[in-house]
């Protein structure tokens, strides 16, 4: 375990050390103090424990790392993640998991606006609520929300799947509730398990694309 104390060490040294590390190493980050770009560009199977709140883009573009933020995460946590696991024990700010292609993002608390915006294959499990415009233009992957969802959920969604247990303030254009078939119950059970959460998949509702905006039709022009 290599420790970086950000009261003394700078973020650049932390990231450089992580980039030069082989699989299996582990890092602890003390006094993160909301600093930005913590543990970005991880490119190995290694562990990073951030002991406190992180600023913007923590764990950005993670590839294979297991990164835990013991606290809140700022804007764009795990943005464009490719693989690996990012776990936020507190809340996440806007655009959590934005454009992420793969891996698993677990947020124990709430996520604010634009959670999973343009997601491209990542799995996101949020223990609490999510804010407005979440899963906007979501292309692929799964977004699980154990609490409530804000306005315009899944606007212009493509092939991503959304599971919400609580209330949905409103659905965005082309996003509709869908039947929970066996494969969806199984998929959701797997995601909840992976995120270390209890809960009955049958309590959730699935949302996805009505696919009416996939090719332009004049009757849908108000949705553009």
């Amino acid at each position: 375990m290599e420790t970086f104390d950000l009261k003394v060490d700078d973020v650049r040294a932390l990231n450089k050390a992580i980039h030069q590390s082989a699989n299996g190493r582990s890092f602890a980050v003390e006094h993160p103090g909301g600093k930005h770009s913590l543990a970005v560009g991880v490119n190995a199977s290694l562990d990073v424990e951030i002991n406190g709140h992180a600023g913007y883009y923590a764990a950005g573009m993670n590839q294979g790392g297991r990164i835990t933020i013991h606290g809140n995460a700022g804007v764009g946590v795990a943005e464009n993640m490719m693989s690996g696991i990012v776990h936020v024990t507190g809340d996440a700010s806007q655009s959590a998991g934005a454009t992420a292609h793969g891996g698993l993002l677990v947020i124990d608390g709430n996520a604010s606006a634009r959670c999973g915006i343009s997601m491209k294959g990542v799995d996101i499990v949020v223990g609490g609520n999510i804010g407005h415009m979440s899963a906007f233009m979501a292309q692929a992957g799964r977004l699980v929300v154990c609490g409530d969802a804000g306005e315009a959920l899944g606007d212009s969604i493509y092939e991503a799947r959304i599971y919400v247990k609580g209330k949905v303030a409103s659905l965005g254009a082309d996003c509709v509730a869908k039947e929970m078939r066996e494969e969806h119950l199984a998929e959701l059970a797997g995601l909840l398990h992976a995120a270390g959460r209890d809960g009955d998949p049958a309590d959730f509702t699935r949302y996805g694309s009505a696919r009416t905006l996939y090719n332009f039709h004049v009757d849908n022009s108000s949705a553009y």
């Binding site: 600023g55 809140n72 700022g74 700010s93 606006a113």
Partner: protein, 302 residues
């Protein structure tokens, strides 16, 4: 485009530490706007006295003489009273036991170049160009007492980097407004306010927001209603913090792209652009921390 840090101290025992707490917050938002900075501090006994109007004027080299102002206020000043001129950092403070409008009128007649950055009985506004930490140091923020305070670091978007263009904008008694974002129809709102007789000091879009709020308050809105009305009139992206003599409000536009985070304990409520500005506040580990929802007005009173 900017950084904001605002703090309201409910627990009077914390108020002697206002300056040091706000300094710490300010240091963390400097990156968001290193061009210039502004501070507003409420209820500091060395700066403001209840029953006395105080004007905060931009610049320390105005060479204002109390006698010039007294001559113009002769009819209005109480028996034996005089105005007082003090220099704090890059700011000149002029105080007198007259209505703020009368004091402002006298200063404007005697020193037409002077720009009023703050006014009221309870607030002092200090604004300057240069690195925000140096601006704060020059004004002695660290040791200041206060009940509420707002700091702002600015990355100028479409107006010049000047002290006058810095936030907060204080355009009515004890009212301050700071902004992160960019209003997209401020020119039209400015024209409409001008038509109604409102005068402007700068080309800054934020001043339009401040003038609009002051205008609505004058029309009888309470702070919350004024901000709801602002949301109906001003378009674009904004996170605003507005303070009055005894309250603080936060509002974001309905799209809510510009960051804002609020932390609240029994002792204080704080708002900042980023968490790192809140990280050192006493009791932060047990604070209720949340992001303000889009289009919703949050207010707290002292």
């Amino acid at each position: 485009m900017c950084g904001i840090a605002a703090l309201q101290l409910r627990n009077p025992q914390l108020r002697p530490k206002m300056g040091s707490l706000l300094s710490t917050m300010l240091c963390e938002i400097v990156d968001r706007g290193p061009d210039s900075a502004g501070l507003a501090v409420y209820d500091n006994p060395e700066l403001n006295t209840l029953g006395k109007s105080t004007l905060s004027l931009l610049g320390a080299d105005l060479e204002i003489s109390s006698a010039d102002i007294d001559a113009l206020l002769a009819e209005l000043l109480p028996e034996g009273a005089t105005s007082e001129v003090r220099i704090v950092g890059d700011t000149t403070l002029v105080s007198a036991e007259v209505a703020t409008e009368d004091l402002a009128g006298a200063v404007a007649r005697a020193y037409p170049e002077a720009v009023v950055a703050g006014r009221g009985e309870r607030v002092t506004v200090m604004k300057s160009v240069g690195h925000p930490v140096e601006v704060a140091e020059r004004h002695g923020l660290e040791g200041m007492y206060g009940s509420q305070a707002v700091s702002h670091t600015r990355m100028a978007t479409e107006s010049a980097v000047t002290a006058g263009g810095s936030h907060p904008f204080s355009v009515a008694n004890d009212l301050c407004l700071v902004h992160n974002g960019s209003f997209s129809n401020h020119a039209s709102v400015r024209r409409e306010l001008k038509r109604l007789g409102v005068e402007f000091d700068s080309e800054n879009d934020t001043e339009v927001g401040a003038r609009y709020v002051a205008h609505r308050l004058q029309q009888g809105d309470d702070l919350e209603t004024a901000l709801v009305n602002l949301g109906k009139v001003l378009d674009g992206f904004y996170t605003l913090v507005v303070t009055t003599a005894d309250s603080m409000a936060v509002v974001r536009d309905p799209i809510a792209c510009k960051p804002a985070i609020i932390a609240e304990t029994d002792d204080w409520v704080a708002m900042a652009s980023e968490f790192r500005a809140l990280a050192e506040l006493p009791g932060i580990e047990n604070a209720r921390i949340f992001e303000p929802e889009p289009g919703r007005v949050y207010t707290w009173s002292l």
